[in-house]
Symmetry: C2
Subunit: 495 residues, 2 copies
């Protein structure tokens, strides 16, 4: 039962590597076969077809050793592959092969960072890496602290939880709060929805998030922030945090970080900077100045599974002062007894909302040591160049309409039908996007620009593949126009 | 810059598998070298030594292509390897090689389950797998719903959040709650600390958790539960949830699930069953009856990175009725616009607290299709047999003292020094455990049994390696005795 070829073979120990080798060959063969069968960025057919295919493979009765290969082929065939230049919808990056290989080592050894004796080297490695990332942000590395997270949503939650707990005092029991201390969070209209979700989870209610208007470039209006804060105080509320976004999901807009920091400091609120998207720009000499002021934040979110080419998850949460973590401290007799800590055994338990925790820092450390900060910066610049090319190409194409100059690597656009009715444009753009998916032609994003009524639907290219060429982008835009015309014709023939 | 051998090569697309192959060879070579160098369950030396080694490797100046191999060797050397029979401290399992190979495919393709167009096959696959797991628990598969999570901590949080929101009404704003609606959670004294952490995160405060006494087998006392609930109601509080544990972290004790379900139903509270540890017993024909009653829960936590041999994370959260998820529903224009859903594009966004989400279901689906439920059950039984052997061996060894019969795969024990002072026994057991770590001999767990004062420290073996033999367990116990004697002698010589 224990041979390396047996289905019960383990990935660790002395025989782990030998047990893994043939299985990795199976997985690679499945990935290869699935990618070839798919051919393009996504398999044609749509959700119903995918579900049928999955059921067919899963319904196979007896368990057997071909499952790994068959299911991997299915996963690869049924992927929206961000490594394909025509897959450019979301902040869903194509990972670097070296990061993926590093992540394999983590899976094989399965360290868990809730206690040192489950992850000795991984504990030290995360601590060192976080000090490097703190320096990248401009936090004092010796005072800063943080943790790897599942992504911006968890990092934003942590920032807001610590802000709530600091301003309201240690043991928060919201249901016992005196009136007049209702906590409020200030974030722009273009901030990520995870801010509202965090407020709900934290027991503050989504309405605790006061939405600050944005300027026409989707940046928070700092004067409006000051006014919103003053209004809250007049209403007897307590603004506990300002969330500034460094790279909004839809346009990459970066809020005025220095002004946000000035206002937060003056009011005694915490400044949390959501740099889940924009944080990767810190690697680029050209783009890093856009994030000037981030070092003044109390806490930040960074996601290296966005502009960082890591497989998910590679989120990072950092605080400028480790004291901010006070309310998350926790002693568990089975994980971090006091006398073990006195004897020098470190514990990361109080830095995370999780208990079991995979060392997602490892792949990022390997990537940084393989490419260097400059190597990652070059990838960021390549994507930024692509976005600028795409925006220019959109401007040059009469059938398309653009939406400003890209800040990071995202381009908003829409197909412009002959019918001037804005509702018609929404219908055509939404359907052309689905048609691109259904035909396996392309995966482009979709969103809505702020405001009311029809005419808000936009297509979105999130360019995160540094190997995509300008010619690839041109082909993708040509497909959008071609399918737009087809959908428009169909709708005008059968309205 | 784009060749498969280049450091910037991607893991996806047509050239991904070829780019990955040499890098996986590097990772395997690093794993092999690190495991050989380590030799045993953990490297000798302790935290200071590990940190020095990590700094030495990370401080290497210029980035280069040897980083993957060097850092992987470091990670493997500095691992506490659960595949070694002498590493038996925590619910930290040695993963199956087939699950690790499956996880590689996920990393390479990097699907993200926050929208269908980032993860077509993965979306369908998770949905199907969750229906299978719902059936395993006894939930009606067509009505149930759920999501993969980072572990029991996140799953418990979700269960308690949904209980809070259901009982208190949709848009929770705790700071505006009228007195007399203070939400309370009932959990046993042996429940996992993540229950208290969830209460704090949810804005209820840790004191919202009312601790119900346990019997001498660490099971919740159902009469005490009824009394605690009645006391809360008299105090004008609202018990929103009962948390029953199916497999406590320290002893594997399983609360009386039917009685908990009866009481929760009678009181209109939600029943959340934390089966993060015990859930794996559902695969075993022999042990599954211990969890009888779990099907009556409103929600459950299962962790297949414990009794399930998956690399972390493989947590599962399930609800019996998908309507329970109401308060987490969320519409985001860039992820799940209404007309896309009408057109048949499914969205899993409302099932998770996260946005970006790696398909952790995939490795579990591959494992189930490779070994089958019975194959996994055999692994569970093998670990249960080991625990029974260990408990018998402890009873037979006069220098050791046991603590009841194992329920699942965990055994509590302590070294019995000649000095009858309970404080002396605590010191010796704590130090002997650190000495086992420091000398690279063994990784055994440590905890404290409930109660006050000294004499509470226990050593813990969590036996999760199905390939460990009874002779391995005997050797491990002999080392505990040998080091216990040495520490006792040292302490009595230099008290």
């Amino acid at each position: 039962m224990t041979g390396p070829g047996a289905p019960q073979a383990l990935s660790g120990g002395r025989s782990g590597p030998a047990a893994l080798r043939p299985l990795l060959d199976e997985a690679l063969a499945g990935l290869d076969a699935g990618a070839r069968l798919r051919g393009g960025p996504i398999a044609p057919g749509g959700p119903g077809e995918t579900t049928r295919q999955v059921r067919q493979v899963l319904d196979d009765p007896a368990p057997d050793s071909t499952a790994l290969r068959r299911l991997t082929e299915l996963l690869a065939y049924g992927a929206a592959d961000p490594a394909d230049p025509a897959c450019a919808a979301h902040l869903h990056c194509p990972p670097l092969a070296v990061a993926v290989a590093a992540d394999l080592a983590v899976s094989a050894l399965n360290p868990s960072q809730d206690s040192w004796d489950q992850a000795p080297a991984a504990t030290a490695l995360e601590t060192e890496l976080l000090a490097e990332l703190a320096a990248l942000v401009g936090f004092p590395p010796a005072a800063a602290a943080g943790v790897l997270t599942s992504g911006g949503t968890e990092s934003n939650l942590m920032g807001l939880m610590l802000a709530r707990d600091r301003v309201l005092g240690g043991a928060v029991e919201l249901d016992g709060l005196p009136a007049g201390r209702r906590p409020r969070i200030l974030a722009s209209a273009a901030a990520h929805f995870s801010v509202q979700r965090a407020a709900a989870l934290l027991g503050l209610g989504e309405r605790a998030v006061l939405t600050v208007p944005v300027d026409r470039d989707q940046r928070m209006d700092a004067d409006a922030l000051a006014a919103a804060r003053a209004g809250a105080v007049r209403a007897g509320e307590t603004p506990v945090a300002v969330v500034a976004t460094a790279g909004t999901t839809d346009t990459g807009a970066i809020d005025p970080l220095h002004r946000c920091a000035d206002l937060a400091r003056r009011y005694g609120a915490r400044l949390h900077v959501d740099a889940a998207y924009g944080g990767g720009a810190l690697f680029s000499g050209r783009l890093a100045p856009l994030l000037d002021g981030i070092a003044r934040a109390d806490s930040v979110s960074l996601d290296f599974h966005k502009l960082g080419w890591q497989p998910a998850a590679a989120g990072v949460f950092l605080v400028r002062h480790r004291e901010s973590y006070a309310s998350l401290a926790r002693r568990a007799a089975y994980l971090n007894p006091a006398d073990d800590e006195q004897a020098g055994y470190p514990s990361l338990l109080g830095y995370s909302l999780r208990t079991t925790r995979r060392p997602d820092a490892f792949k990022l450390a390997v990537t940084l040591r393989t490419l260097g900060r400059a190597g990652l910066g070059a990838l960021v610049d390549a994507c930024h160049d692509l976005a600028r090319h795409a925006a220019a190409a959109v401007r040059a194409e009469p059938a398309l309409e653009g939406q400003g100059e890209p800040v990071l690597t995202t381009v908003l656009l829409r197909y412009r039908p002959a019918d001037p009715d804005p509702a018609a444009a929404d219908l055509v753009n939404a359907e052309l996007r689905r048609q691109l998916l259904r035909t396996g032609t392309a995966v482009v994003g979709r969103t809505e620009i702020p405001g009311d009524g029809p005419g808000r639907v936009r297509l979105k290219l999130t360019l995160l593949n540094p190997h995509t060429t300008p010619a690839d982008v041109d082909r993708l835009l040509a497909e959008i126009v071609r399918h737009g015309r087809e959908v428009e014709f169909r709708y005008s023939a059968h309205p």
